[in-house]
């Protein structure tokens, strides 16, 4: 089982508490984990990666085992500790802006 920890707003949106556990077929890559996550929770489609390009949204990051996987190829194997469920994959809202002073 793969464990995925979502940021507060996405947990609220998906109506889950704590880490999400997913069954992901081998080979366990970031793309496959996100595919499964979006299959289980369609409301998360578009909130982590773009609908059409599947590129990571700019102000989100993927961390695991004290590493930043945000710029890794999405078809790379995830760290073994994530693949075996010992460590979670963390989806993090970046400490950055993202809110434009729009509307006016």
């Amino acid at each position: 089982m793969i464990r995925v920890e979502l940021p507060h707003h996405l947990r609220t949106l998906a109506q889950v508490s704590g880490a999400v556990t997913l069954e992901v077929e081998e080979p366990v890559t970031l793309r496959r984990v996100l595919d499964e996550l979006e299959t289980r929770y369609p409301v998360l489609r578009g909130t982590i990666r773009d609908h059409d390009t599947l590129r990571r949204r700019a102000f989100l990051r993927f961390f695991a085992c004290e590493e930043d996987l945000s710029h890794s190829a999405t078809d790379d194997l995830l760290p073994e500790a994530v693949r075996t469920g010992r460590e979670p994959l963390l989806v993090i809202g970046a400490i950055a802006g993202g809110a434009l002073e729009a509307v006016s």
Partner: protein
């Protein structure tokens, strides 16, 4: 007895304010979608219990929410765990993909960027949701980068009305300070094929055939901030309002200038008259008096707050040109908030109520057409939008 439900979108969530017809004692519920920007929420005129919400975030993108019980409970249409007959997940309520198909006229894919180069369209967020006047399942969405989408299935899926972007002037459109947004959608109650929209900073546009063909309707607008001051497009229209009983007459708050059209937007004339400043964002029309118009003057494009710290709504009972300040109950010193373009609304009670929200988190009501004001709430997050439902 009738009652009112005020839908308030803020920088940090949605709120629903309800009162009976006296509009004196208010119940406040929310925040809904706490922490998210709620650019707009609006109820269906066909089924007032159906409310559509634009929930957006710089981090997590766009979500459409919907209530079918007047705001008590919410769901993202299509966002639940569902499978197609083939076993694939379905439901993509937050998917707004620009149309690039040849069948729909191969819409242009670039617009003018701040540096004068051409830039591809990129979806940012939904600014405005306009439910159909005839079908509770149908709703229009005005988005940034500027385009118009429609859902015919209650917000489950969205299709672009691509002929707007593709009609010819698209490459001349450019973003205003708030982005290149389609922020205003006005549906003609008498002619279901006629839709007005407005884009910052491109101007106003109209279709007379349900969105197949569009034309700019900016004749009479003059804008000092563009090289050709009366160009066909390029004007920073802030908002357009209409009295449903007289759909051919439109009122516009432009970046500067308050304008009026008596021919469905074909031509405009300035009606700023004696306003102390004709810069502003919000404008609306009295529910029962088509010549009574309200604006919230803002000092200037450099100073986005009321003049001299005095919060004022100005009313014209002559369809423009002659205006009077309506200030009773509004702060008349040390007030430096803004009133944004979608943050003014009117109810349709016998005595028309006027509402507006501020970036300081106040929502004010005047239950007597602007004569007297009082705050419903003082301390919400910055108010982005205000809509009112009159319920029986």
């Amino acid at each position: 007895m009738s009652r009112v439900r005020v839908l308030v979108g803020t920088r940090k969530g949605a709120f629903v304010l309800t009162a009976d017809g006296k509009r004196e004692s208010w119940e406040v519920s929310g925040p809904f979608f706490a922490g998210w920007e709620i650019y707009h929420m609006k109820g269906s005129p066909v089924n007032p219990e159906r409310i559509y919400v634009s929930q957006t975030s710089g981090w997590f993108g766009q979500v459409i929410q919907r209530s079918d019980d007047g705001g008590k409970t919410w769901n993202a249409p299509g966002g639940g765990v569902q499978k197609s007959p083939e076993g694939f997940p379905v439901g993509e309520s937050n998917r707004f993909s620009y149309d690039t198909s040849e069948e729909t006229g191969r819409p242009l894919t670039t617009h003018q960027w701040y540096d004068g180069t051409q830039h591809p369209w990129e979806f940012k967020r939904v600014w405005h949701l306009e439910p159909s006047l005839r079908d509770a399942e149908a709703v229009y969405a005005g988005v940034e980068d500027a385009a118009l989408f429609r859902s015919g299935d209650g917000g489950h899926s969205w299709q672009e009305l691509a002929a707007l972007r593709g009609h010819g002037t698209g490459p001349q459109w450019q973003p205003g300070a708030g982005g290149m947004c389609l922020h205003t959608i006005v549906l003609d109650p008498k002619d279901p094929e006629r839709i007005y929209i407005a884009i910052s900073a491109a101007g106003a546009f109209r279709t007379d055939d349900g969105g197949k063909r569009w034309k700019p309707i900016n004749k009479g607008l003059r804008s000092e901030s563009i090289p050709d001051q009366d160009a066909e497009v390029g004007h920073c229209v802030h908002h357009i309002a209409m009295n449903p009983r007289r759909p051919g007459v439109l009122f516009m708050q432009k970046h500067w200038d308050v304008m009026r059209s008596d021919d469905a937007g074909d031509t405009w004339r300035e009606v700023s008259g004696n306003l102390p400043t004709d810069f502003g964002f919000a404008i609306d029309v009295h529910a029962h008096e088509p010549e009574t118009v309200y604006v919230a003057p803002i000092t200037s494009d450099s100073l986005h707050f009321p003049m001299e710290g005095k919060l004022q709504v100005w009313r014209s009972r002559t369809g423009g040109d002659e205006w009077e300040a309506m200030t009773k109950g509004l702060p008349q010193k040390d007030c430096y908030v803004n009133v944004l373009r979608d943050a003014m609304a009117v109810d349709s009670m016998d005595e028309c109520g006027i509402y507006f929200g501020t970036t300081g988190g106040q929502v004010y009501v005047s239950p007597d057409g602007g004569e007297h004001w009082r705050p419903i709430v003082h301390d919400l997050p910055a108010v982005l939008s205000v809509e009112v439902q009159t319920l029986t």
